[in-house]
Symmetry: C3
């Protein structure tokens, strides 16, 4: 078990089983030192600011990031190979008057910083969406930098 | 004619004439080994799940990917220079209750895998949008990896 | 003062004070030769095609790009270190019938080309959004290429 997985345990968090893509794409694609991580939606459905509260959506963003990390772990074998989080993009399914998307996506960003420290700090865009796949309330994708590439499984 | 163009013909597909950007941007921008391909919208207009059926939208996604490939061909001279498809992002203009965006974008992803095989498999995000340029039902952008750079035209 | 800042002055434009991120993320993240610039929203609020006119939104897109450039300047010390603009993504908060997002985002693209010439020409996607953070009418993010990395501050 590596350092990042130790840190997850210290935080009382458990990675879920890595989910398979819902259609014809990869969970991650390696591109040189970068790993493009495909978008995934939250299990929680609904409109934030409507039937989903901002606090629930923030938790859903954290849980969706755990889903992304489980997929990254499966694909590269060890989360310690992730040396930096480069960019995160989050879509928040928003009721018409809801405009606090950044606070929702902080659920994901806070987790990355808790796990990787300064290297987990990233560029980010949080955007509203009227509809997301399966009616989910949050969708996240990211780009990470990987090292020790000679050791990589994927 | 290269291998990818041969494969297109075997599939009974024809690349359209490459369209010019509709505003002040490039069809593609090369960045080291990566090529950023600008977003393009489908010729088919309407809301998926409303006046456009999911099957029609899926075909529109495939046709829009043909538009992207025509632009890539114009800009780098030979589709065989594309060694890998890294990331695809698709926006689907969605009626309020429509939540099957991934199946729509498969129209594009399936084509890439049919043309490039495993190298055509990519990271992807499929998102809903309430509105797209010109009222189109689908918008696609992508990042591809190019090789044989000493031979490149663009 | 560098060449790009000179050019800004010649255009009669002034960079604003660089704004801090509104949540737990960085204004920019360096990734090798690339700099991922986080999304920022316009100060101008409203729906384009509704309470905001397309011309006002285009000006807001230019002003938002000035905000991005101010952040880039703070983070890398000199805009002349930016050797190329690779990709710009713009979200336009759109009234239901508004479909001219590309013309809005030209407010940002035109500025980049005015400042960097051909190197400022970029891949781009302009998309509609039903809602954006703080009710803004425009949101922009970009990826730029930086050079002279041995001199960089950030």
């Amino acid at each position: 078990m590596g350092r990042i997985e130790d840190r997850l345990r210290e935080l009382g968090l458990v990675l879920p089983a890595p989910k398979a893509p819902v259609a014809n794409y990869l969970g991650t694609k390696r591109s040189g030192d970068l790993l493009f991580v495909s978008g995934r939606v939250s299990a929680l459905k609904g409109e934030v600011g409507g039937d989903v509260s901002p606090a629930e959506a923030r938790d859903a963003a954290r849980d969706t990031m755990l889903d992304l990390l489980a997929i990254v772990l499966r694909d590269i074998g060890d989360l310690d190979h992730v040396v930096s989080i480069e960019q995160v993009r989050g879509f928040v399914r928003s009721a018409p008057a809801f405009a606090a998307q950044p606070a929702v996506i902080d659920g994901a960003s806070d987790l990355l910083v808790a796990l990787w420290g300064d290297a987990g700090r990233h560029a980010r865009t949080a955007t509203g969406a009227a509809q997301l796949p399966f009616g989910a309330c949050v969708q996240l994708e990211m780009v990470v930098r990987i090292g020790k590439t000679s050791d990589l499984v994927g």
